[in-house]
């Protein structure tokens, strides 16, 4: 029995891994082609009037843009396999350096947002379910729908105007107060500040992180509220919950020990799947709050019409999301024996 289950899991792993290859290939091909069908060649579109034809030609050659399209495609795939995402035209730096410099900021923001989303989503969702059809439930549902419907940038601007401009409680943008950066260990300022016991940096980084994390977290939290509520309501109707109540188990224990834990199982899977949504939301959040992550970098490359820069970051995003999705699927399959091919 155990052997059979192990073999099934291995098959699932292999099948899931095999699916990654065509998925990545489709993503990379789409990214490559989309930027090639944009009007003008990347160098002229980026640098326009600023460069002579001679220099533009030199840049084209150095980027391999003078080669046939199929050759560029093969080169591009080859580079991606080696973790090389190209060299941005506007910065003349490898995209890899940009990613290394900015990814920690995006990771810190998305993790903080995920925490906000889980606290808000699970908290309000569970309360709505527990107090179903009360004013609290109706309020929670409306709140969840509003969060889900509100565009992230609008939510960000509203929080910015209220808490930063009007009340002055938080900064309008940036990642940490000037001249207070902690010594870099992980690149995550809050973590580095804790590790180096730099309390000034910790306070500052938390202040700067609060509004962007709330914006992104609330936007995702709207989805969680509805999901947790529905799951919780279904679970509260389950036979084993009724049985527990019949046995005289205190309601608090019924709620938290029996219903809540079981209701969270599908939510955990959804949390993982929301990671891609978090990353796309991070582009808008980072732009609104001048948060120096990869999302802001992508916006800057788009603004500068640096197609090579855009291609590099979109490729990184694509690979990252596919890999994270794969890991989540594999982890889910490992803990949940029902997930098999």
């Amino acid at each position: 029995m155990a052997r059979g289950s192990g073999g099934s899991l291995a098959r699932y792993f292999m099948a899931r891994l095999a699916l990654v290859v065509p998925m990545l290939l489709i993503l990379l091909t789409a990214t490559f082609l989309l930027l090639r069908v944009a009007p003008g060649d990347p160098v002229t579109a980026t640098l326009g009037d600023r460069v002579s034809e001679a220099r533009a030609d030199a840049i084209r050659r150095s980027l391999g843009l003078n080669r046939p399209l199929w050759r560029q495609y093969v080169d591009y795939l080859g580079r991606v396999v080696h973790g090389d995402f190209g060299r941005a035209i506007t910065t003349n730096r490898p995209i890899r350096s940009t990613i290394a410099e900015r990814f920690p900021a995006t990771l810190e923001l998305t993790l903080a947002a995920l925490i906000v989303a889980v606290i808000v989503g699970v908290g309000i969702g569970a309360l709505s379910a527990r107090y179903r059809d009360t004013t609290l439930d109706i309020g929670g549902r409306i709140f969840g729908i509003l969060l889900y419907a509100a565009p992230i940038f609008w939510l960000g601007i509203m929080l910015q105007l209220l808490f930063a401009v009007k009340l002055g409680w938080f900064p309008t943008g940036g990642r940490i107060a000037p001249f207070t950066e902690p010594r870099s260990i992980t690149g995550l300022y809050t973590v580095d500040a804790l590790l180096t016991r730099n309390w000034g940096s910790l306070t500052s980084s938390v202040r700067y992180l609060t509004l962007p994390a709330l914006t992104l977290g609330l936007a995702i939290g709207g989805i969680f509220i509805r999901l947790v509520r529905v799951n919780m309501i279904q679970t509260l109707k389950a036979d084993y919950v009724e049985a527990a109540r019949a046995r005289g188990v205190p309601e608090r224990l019924v709620l938290f020990r029996h219903a809540f834990r079981n209701a969270l199982v599908p939510v955990v899977t959804i949390v993982g799947l929301q990671f891609a949504l978090l990353l796309s939301g991070a582009v808008l959040t980072e732009t609104t709050f001048t948060w120096p992550g990869i999302g802001l970098s992508l916006f800057q490359f788009l603004q500068d019409r640096d197609y090579i820069g855009v291609q590099g970051l979109v490729t990184f995003y694509a690979v990252f999301v596919v890999v994270v999705s794969l890991l989540i699927d594999l982890a889910s399959a490992w803990v949940d024996p029902r997930i098999r091919y």
Binding site: T44, V165, L167, F179, R305
Partner: protein, 540 residues
């Protein structure tokens, strides 16, 4: 009976308490702008680095700003001066009678930020290096030094520079960041051997830092985020007043405005929009500093495209244009009407366009020029007018619309406005596909030559495709005339000739503005466009 459960009211109470704790962070962590020691300064800007801050390459405002604060030149401009004064040179040079040889005595005891001595060999190394890049890279600022024929380090503190032809603007060029004197030790691997081409040339620039003798050291550069400067502890001159300066780069002026409003930056320089700037004029705790700017905006005619190949047609537009509404309605006082391609910054400025065409909207003159051009009375002329929507800021569309309105107000023009983004705009301009269009000019060095040569010489710029032999000879004559009075006469002649032919119509001069906390002092905005960090000071 069900056990007691938390009531909704109690839950709201807990949530409220959490919110209070969160917001309480504000009072405990509130910092001064900058968050660090009070005397440090944070500057916010929407500028970005076009290429690198290697002085041999930097040709954009921001790149040169970094170079000016970290490296120094032989001569410079004191605040608000229009003539150079010595900096790393001990005195202004001895210039030979034929204007070909410049002999400089250098200051002694000056060291680069890496400890290397600043001497004649370093001067020779730096200028030759920049000139070599100019020879190989058309976009590098090094081309400004192409007139140098030879450099000799005659003694440790004596340098002799020989030019291939007299150039009255040479000292102005030496005051530009391209002529920064750099540490030969730090740049020994960033010199062209002569065999490099294309990307090989670009790869030789030193793009990570600047090692000069300047009052500040660049200690950190985060791409499109920030630059941090520290006062140079071994600086030979008057020590900078601010220990650390952080320059934060913003993508949008609206974000910069919010940051200044919220005291997250101390000074916003380049560029808030006119409306945003206006909000700080009367706001408590802020001040707006204004300075004369060297930048100009103008209308260009492609003189090869009918009907604009007829000078009288161009003159009619020059007579119809009313600059005042553009300045008042769109720029809201952040610019001044301009009546010559050489702005009033220079004593040689001649209001040639208003002399010939009036102050604007002169219908009698418009009709006269159109009649001379062969346009029947009462017939309207179509103007295909172009602009680029973002390159010159968010006000550009309004500038174009108001210009069009003033032309149409004469009853003799029908203006069709079109726009394309900057990259395509440049392509169309070069291809001659823009008959009438808006452009702007920021000089490289502070001399009248830089307002004449680029508009006459197709080898430099000449967006009107004018290429007029008489204008070219006037430009060449003023460039080699060493007598100041005689040169001024030629410069005025050039302005009059340009106005008479009207391939360009000046519209307005751009003023410089900085919005700043009133705790910050020492901001000098003068036409030379050096934002001098070393003069800035912030009161606690």
């Amino acid at each position: 009976m069900r056990p007691s459960n938390p009531s909704p009211l109690r839950i709201f109470g807990v949530l409220g308490a959490l919110l209070l704790i969160l917001t309480a962070c504000k009072s405990s962590t509130s910092t001064t702008a900058g968050g660090g020691p009070a005397q440090n300064i944070v500057i916010g800007t929407t500028d970005s680095l076009q290429n690198s801050f290697d002085p041999a390459e930097a040709y954009d405002y921001f790149g040169t700003e970094v170079a000016f604060n970290t490296a120094e030149t032989l001569v410079t401009y004191a605040p608000n001066a229009t003539k150079p004064s010595p900096l790393l040179a001990a005195a202004l040079p001895d210039v030979s009678a034929d204007g070909l040889t410049y002999t400089f005595q250098l200051r002694s005891g000056v060291k680069f930020q890496d400890g290397t001595d600043m001497d004649a060999a370093a001067v020779k190394f730096s200028l030759q290096r920049a000139r070599a890049f100019g020879d190989k890279d058309a976009e590098a600022a090094g081309f400004l030094l192409s007139g140098i024929k030879d450099i000799t380090a005659a003694a440790p503190t004596k340098v002799v520079i020989t030019l291939s032809a007299p150039d009255v603007a040479f000292l102005s060029k030496l005051a530009y960041s391209v002529a920064s004197i750099l540490s030969p030790t730090a740049y020994k691997n960033n010199v062209l051997s002569g065999t490099e081409t294309g990307a090989g040339v670009v790869a030789k620039y030193k793009t990570d830092t600047v090692v000069g003798t300047g009052p500040y050291k660049l200690v950190s550069y985060k791409e499109k985020q920030s630059l941090e400067f520290q006062a140079n502890p071994t600086y030979w001159g008057t020590k900078p007043k601010t220990p650390k300066i952080l320059v934060r780069l913003f993508d949008k002026s609206s974000a910069l405005k919010l940051a200044l409003q919220n005291h997250e930056v101390d000074t916003a320089f380049r560029s808030l929009q006119p409306d945003e700037l206006a909000s700080f004029r009367s706001a408590a705790g802020f001040q707006v500093i204004e300075g004369q700017g060297p930048g100009i905006r103008y209308i260009v005619f492609n003189v090869n495209t009918p009907p604009w190949n007829n000078p009288n047609m161009r003159k009619a537009v020059a007579a119809a244009l009313d600059r005042t509404p553009v300045v008042n309605e769109v720029l809201k006082g952040t610019g001044k009407p301009l009546d010559s391609m050489i702005p009033p910054t220079f004593p040689t400025h001649d209001p040639a366009w208003t002399s010939l065409y009036g102050a604007g909207g002169d219908i009698t003159k418009v009709n006269a020029f159109l009649t001379a051009a062969g346009v029947p009375a009462g017939q309207k002329v179509n103007v295909d007018f172009w602009f680029s929507p973002t390159h010159y800021g968010d006000t550009e569309a309004s500038v174009a619309q108001v210009i069009a309105r003033t032309l149409e107000a004469t009853g003799r023009f029908t203006v069709k406005i079109s726009n394309v983004e900057w990259a395509e705009y440049g392509q169309k301009r070069k291809a001659g596909e823009l008959p009438v269009f808006l452009m702007g000019w920021y000089p490289d060095y502070l001399d009248e030559d830089d307002y004449l040569a680029p508009f006459a010489d197709p080898k430099i710029f000449d967006p009107a495709k004018w290429n007029d032999p008489q204008m070219l000879s006037l430009v060449a004559a003023q460039a080699k005339e060493l007598d100041v009075t005689k040169r001024a006469v030629i410069i005025k002649q050039a302005q009059s000739y340009m106005a008479d032919q009207a391939p360009y119509v000046p519209v307005f001069q751009i003023s410089q503005f900085a919005a700043t906390s009133d705790k910050v002092s020492g901001i000098v905005l003068d036409p030379i466009q050096i934002f001098r960090y070393w003069l800035l000071e912030k009161k606690a």
